[in-house]
Amino acid sequence: MSTRRSVAAVQTLLAAVAALALLECRARPAQRPQSQAEQAAPAVPPAALVKVYLFFPGDDTLLHREIRDVPELSTAGTTRIRSVVEELLAGSQSGLAPAFPWAATVEAVFVDRSGNAFVDFTAPPADAVQGSDTEIMLAYAVVNTVVANCAGVERVQLLFGGHEVDTLGHLDLSRPLAARPQLVAP
């Protein structure tokens, strides 16, 4: 294969990969369950609800599962990941602590072919993340939530402000983390 054909083939591959697997999700707000008034509107058929499994920190410094009904999620990997992480960022509905100590938003989501998801959050303000427990809860709330709801994702790497970070102070965040079921309260 000539160099030009090789480049053309790689170019096609790049376009296909970008289109199929690595396209950044368009920002869309997390969908919320409709209010009673909205649900009562006759013209709009009720959306099918599905369950998402979210993990929030408790006083026992374990993650506690919160099951929430949301409108049907996209099956597309990155869109689905963004949706469940935005549900997590919206906070607990049962009084558990927030996973993030600042008002973080999802900037971008990517998935590679090895089942690693990369979720880019807005960078934390200075001194926002204090204590190893805060870091562990933050990281594994995201990792466990994504892995629990998104088939095919095995590990998650957290990015901040568009950058890889080595750590927020304690935990090694320089690579994708696997889910840790042992951090979830029985």
């Binding site: 790049l14 376009a15 990969v17 970008a18 204090q130």
Partner: protein
């Protein structure tokens, strides 16, 4: 204000917001480039290098050509084709307000194959051919806390790699010395090669700590007069050595108490007491930092590795988003982290002329053995803490903590309590309780180092 008025105000503010641009210094003078937050116009930057950039609608990708180099990238993707090879980018390429943008790291990754470098992206960006670099000056400045090597003209925080008789600082962009650095006292010489600055140190001198300063930007390396002392410890030691690491320090304040108390101060106070207790029990012990110094996480274990310590214990106070969280817990390294990356980290820290494949294999064997020993060490520490009155037992846990990665000896990180819990913070701040904690941890370490398993645990230096 009515809701309508508020909405109108927001619309007016948005409409009146000018496009944000950043001035990029180039060899031909400053050029304004579109920017939003930390996103930069990638096509504009590539064109500043003289590259021809064109969009191919069929492939949906951009192609930049400069001399024999070709880079292709696609908005929405985080891959590029660099000279025919598929290459991951640090971040995605996006389309924003008609511009093709990406993070500074992505810009650097696209510019590098074209032979150009973008630096100073957190302040005033500078675009220049790779042949020329950031202009720095290096000088030795005496201080009460030991001689300081001051690297002026850079805001970068380099990665440090210790070697025999030298310290290598690896920067993110090429460097250029404004003037030759002549030998001065503890600094025998300075070499610059591309991104690397090498400080050649006098015998017995080592790096104690590093930190960055602004206005003007400079990076400071504090040399330790204790370097000779460290070598002495190594040569003369007959019993076990414990390295105690007071968590955080300097710029890194750690967690904050309800009255603004800083974790770094409490860890130092407890660690000092812990070292005193160990020494009183006849066990050699030393701190990673003696005062309020900034010390990178990897430097802490690197010190313990250089000294061939038998035990490494890092002391921390915790904080949690759950305000009711309380208690003490002890961590050792997560098994997931015992992979090639951790081995490479240790190898990097312990870089010596003899580092080779065999050294890595020995390190791996030692590290697996250390996992079991670290588990025992953590269990012993947690057991002693649990015996204290009023302690909530949070147990022994594992986590991939950076400060434990690369330790070539049994290592643990002890979280002595939660500063975020007002009741517990009040107790943690009292000197009496700090002394109790120090005594309990010292008792645990003493018990551990005198146990048969500790004696049987190899370290890299002792491996056959």
């Amino acid at each position: 204000m009515s809701r309508t008025a508020a909405i109108l105000l927001v619309i007016a503010l948005i409409a009146g917001t000018p496009a944000v641009a950043v001035n990029v210094a180039t060899p031909h003078g400053p050029v304004e480039v579109f920017s939003r937050g930390d996103l930069l116009d990638l096509v504009a930057l590539l064109r500043l290098t003289g590259a021809q950039v064109a969009f191919a609608p069929a492939a949906g990708s951009y192609t930049a050509l400069l001399a024999e180099h070709e880079v292709q990238f696609t908005p929405g993707g985080s891959l590029a084709v660099v000279d025919g090879r598929l290459t991951p980018l640090p971040g995605p390429v996006r389309t924003l307000e008609g511009h093709v943008v990406g993070s500074a790291a992505t810009a650097v990754a696209l510019l590098d194959p074209m032979g150009w470098t973008l630096s100073g992206t957190e302040g005033e960006p500078r675009l220049y051919p790779n042949a020329s670099g950031e202009r720095i000056a290096v000088e030795l400045v005496p201080s009460a806390n030991g001689p300081l090597v001051v690297v002026r003209g850079t805001a970068q925080k380099p990665r440090l790699v210790a070697g025999p008789g030298q310290m290598t600082l690896q920067f993110g962009s090429p460097l250029e010395l404004t003037q030759p650095a002549h030998p001065q006292g503890e600094l025998l010489g300075v070499d610059v090669h591309e991104n690397t600055l090498t400080l050649r140190l006098a015998p017995g001198v080592e790096v104690a700590s590093t930190y960055s300063l602004a206005d003007p930007p400079r990076f400071v390396v504090r040399l330790a007069a204790a370097g000779t002392e460290a070598r002495g410890e190594l040569a003369e030691r007959t019993g076990p050595l414990v390295v105690v690491d007071p968590g955080h320090g300097g710029d890194d304040q750690g967690a904050r108490g309800p009255g603004g108390e800083q974790e770094k101060d409490i860890t130092l106070a407890v660690s000092r007491l812990l070292v005193q207790r160990l020494q009183a029990a006849g066990i050699a012990a030393r701190l990673t930092r003696e005062s309020d110094d900034t010390l990178a996480l990897v430097e802490r274990t690197a010190l313990a590795n250089r000294l061939k310590a038998d035990v490494f214990v890092s002391v921390h106070l915790n904080a949690s988003p759950a305000k009711g969280a309380r208690g003490a817990e002890t961590y050792f390294m997560n098994a997931d982290a015992t992979d090639a990356q951790a081995a490479q980290a240790a190898e990097r820290e312990n870089a010596t002329a003899s580092s080779n494949g065999l050294e890595l294999i020995l390190w791996d064997l030692a590290h697996v053995a250390n996992l079991n020993a670290s588990s025992q060490l953590a269990g012993t520490i947690q057991g002693q803490l649990n015996a204290l009155h009023g302690i909530t037992d949070r147990g022994i846990k594992q986590a991939p903590f950076v400060v434990l990665t690369g330790a070539t000896m049994p290592a643990a990180l002890v979280e002595i309590g939660f500063l975020s819990n007002p009741d517990e913070a009040q107790r943690l701040l009292t000197p009496d309780f700090q002394a109790e904690i120090a005594s309990a941890v010292a008792q645990a370490i003493t018990s551990y180092v005198r146990s048969p398993q500790a004696a049987a645990t190899p370290t890299v230096g002792q491996a056959p």
